[in-house]
């Protein structure tokens, strides 16, 4: 008892005592979609620095990451979508200037059960018919989408409403972010969706490319019909811009102040862009062409602050378009 009290008072004293100078730490938070990429870079970066620089990565979500970023609490924000107007306002208020760096592409993948032998490909209007809010309780069988498909129940699986993937998919398919029917099996854990679709012949779902790649034996990816015919998700179709509109860039946002005042942040970002193409492939995301990382490096060295997206949710930005915009930025 007495010892515990003593310890508590020591604790209180430490609380009052001024904090010693902090070690070199690069603080990162944000999207869990971007997390595997940044984790891989952080791991390699710390190895190369032999522990002299510390890197921490959290998973507060894209929105949560921007909140911290715009309050100036972290150096880098992981984001699975471009920064929004309201977030730009927040950053402006507290004087945080940011540099936007696309680091990889992700392909949202529409998947069905391998035993599903009727779906060969699907159009965006088909998907809209399935997922729009008006479909709730009405579109319940496959033949309501296309008459040649069987009269069997349509079981839908998708990420929960807090996910950036959900935001992007609804924006790309329905035309308005977060606008979706509510009567589908939702889970924030994509592995639950993998399980659900792999156990039900009548199921259809969507999630990030990496989850499909790891579970190819249990799932079938549905090609999306485009003007040039059906296109399935792969590194190639994302790179040449044919897999649309479900391919999306993912970003890191770097605080200009951190870049200027913390050499370790500068080093980390350089390391990120130099090693991204290899590390992105390691974690099963789709790398940008080497020239894209070159442009990003230029943006860093010239401290080009701002976004090329104008603060709106935008879908179907091909790598080529993105690079043109970045180059002209």
């Amino acid at each position: 008892m007495k010892k515990a009290l003593l310890a508590l008072s020591v604790l209180a004293l430490v609380g009052i005592a001024p904090r010693a100078a902090k070690a070199q730490i690069v603080q990162i938070d944000g999207s869990s979609t971007v997390f595997p990429v940044t984790e891989a870079v952080a791991e390699e970066f710390q190895k190369s620095k032999k522990g002299k620089v510390k890197v921490t990565v959290g998973i507060a979500g894209t929105g949560g990451g921007f909140k911290k970023f715009c309050r100036g609490e972290i150096d880098v924000s992981n984001a699975s979508r471009p920064i929004l107007k309201s977030e730009i306002e927040d950053c402006k208020k507290s004087g945080v200037q940011f540099i936007e760096l696309p680091v990889a592409y992700d392909a949202l993948t529409v998947i069905v059960n391998p035993k599903n032998d009727w779906v060969k490909s699907i159009t965006v209007p088909d998907l809209k018919k399935m997922w729009e809010p008006a479909a709730q309780g009405k579109i319940t069988t496959w033949n309501q989408i296309r008459p040649e498909w069987p009269n069997s129940p349509l079981k839908l699986f998708g990420p929960g409403a807090d996910s950036g993937t959900f935001d992007y998919f609804t924006e790309a398919i329905v035309g308005k972010a977060k606008s979706s029917r509510g009567d589908f099996t939702a889970s924030e854990d994509d592995n639950v969706l993998v399980q659900g679709v792999s156990n039900d012949r009548n199921a259809l779902g969507y999630f990030g490319f990496a989850y499909y790649i790891e579970n190819q034996a249990k799932l079938k990816a549905v090609p999306i019909e485009t003007a040039k015919g059906p296109v399935g998700p792969s590194a190639k179709t994302v790179e040449d811009g044919t897999y649309q509109p479900l391919a999306r860039p993912i970003f890191i946002y770097v605080s200009k102040k951190s870049l200027d005042s913390k050499p370790e942040v500068r080093e980390f970002v350089d390391f990120y862009l130099k090693n991204a193409s290899k590390l992105v492939k390691d974690v099963k995301y789709i790398a940008l062409p080497p020239s894209a990382y070159k442009i990003a490096e230029e943006h860093v060295s010239k401290r080009k602050v701002g976004t090329v997206f104008g603060g709106t949710a935008e879908v179907g930005v091909k790598i080529e378009d993105l690079m043109k915009r970045e180059a002209n930025f």
Binding site: M1, A4, L5, A7, L8, V10, L11, V14, G15, A17, R19, A20, I25, Q27, D29, S32, F35, P36, T38, E39, A40, A42, E43, Q46, G51, K54, V55, T56, V57, G58, I59, A60, K68, E188, D189, D190, N191, G208, A210, Y211, I213, E214, N215, L279, D282, V283, K284
Partner: protein, 307 residues
């Protein structure tokens, strides 16, 4: 009225006895539900994760390669956070319990405090996280540190410790207190020399149950900024140079085992799921070990009681 015949009485006894046995079976089944759930859980975790529990799993940092990844930063984080939690929650919890049970006058104000404590025990843990974010992280400027995490979890388990303390103080017979008063002891002498030592077993059980709950908490820690990737350890508490003891670790960023587990479970690669199972197994083992310590203490303190 006729006397009931022996056969009627016999029947009634027999039916009562069989009902007794039926209840015994139902009770046994009810017990087995709990036992089997735990056994199934342990078996499931062990079948997935046991192969991963090797020395390097404890000495490696997280990695993008599941086979090389380990829980070094998260188990160290868990233990440091638990130390802060215990140091803060135990004295405050026992102090509050002793005051409410031994000192507090029975009036409406005490009743209000009691209702509040009972309510606090039912507040969802995420709410503690939100409060701690405002209070510890921003108001007190503790930041996203081990100190914030430990204090948050301390608040979370405070009601458990207070209630357990009061229960075990209440179990000490009133005659003990009266005997002490009769010999001229003050209230504090009675409490510190007699009542508290006698109830220590029960209090420690409450403390350990509280800590076992805290060790598995994820939601409030994510709210106050526990990290997922952290590949360094907090500052060592003991230094080679003056003043030899350092509290810098209190300010360190941290991760804890449930958060590491959560992250691995949600990864696409199946190998990461094995890591998560292994982490779960270790977490279970830690909780069971803590419970074993509680049982041991209870046994030891009971043996010392001479009345």
């Amino acid at each position: 009225m006729d006397k009931p015949s022996a056969s009627v009485i016999g029947k009634s006894i027999a039916s009562n006895k069989s009902r007794d046995q039926v209840f015994a079976v139902i009770g046994l089944l009810a017990t087995f539900v709990g036992m089997l759930t735990l056994a199934a859980l342990l078996f499931d975790l062990a079948s997935d994760g046991l192969a991963r529990i090797k020395p390097h799993f404890f000495t490696s940092f997280p990695s993008r390669f599941a086979g090389q990844a380990g829980i070094l930063s998260s188990w160290v984080g868990t233990i440091l956070v638990m130390i802060v939690t215990a140091l803060a929650a135990v004295p405050i919890g026992i102090g509050a319990g002793v005051y409410l049970e031994e000192y507090a006058p029975k009036n409406w104000f005490t009743a209000l405090i009691e209702i509040n404590i009972a309510n606090l025990a039912g507040v969802p843990s995420i709410v503690y996280g939100l409060m701690a974010l405002g209070l510890f992280v921003y108001q007190f400027k503790f930041g996203q540190s081990i100190l914030s995490a430990g204090l948050t979890l301390a608040l979370l388990i405070l009601p458990i410790i207070i209630v357990a303390t009061r229960e075990s103080l209440r179990a000490v017979p009133g005659s003990m207190r009266e005997a002490a008063y009769a010999l001229g002891a003050t209230k504090w002498q009675t409490t510190s020399d007699h009542v508290l030592p006698y109830s220590m077993g029960g209090i420690l059980t409450g403390v350990i149950i509280g800590l076992s709950r805290a060790i598995g908490e994820t939601a409030p820690l994510i709210t106050i900024g526990a990290l997922t990737f952290i590949a360094f350890l907090p500052d060592a508490p003991v230094k080679a140079e003056f003043p030899f003891i350092s509290f810098e670790w209190l300010w360190s960023p941290y991760s804890v085992m449930p958060i590491q587990m959560f992250n691995w479970v949600s990864r696409p690669q199946a190998e990461f799921h094995l890591n998560a199972a292994a982490t779960g197994l270790i977490l279970m083992a830690m909780t069971l070990a803590m419970n074993a310590v509680a049982i041991y203490f209870r046994y030891r303190f009971r043996k010392r009681i001479k009345w």
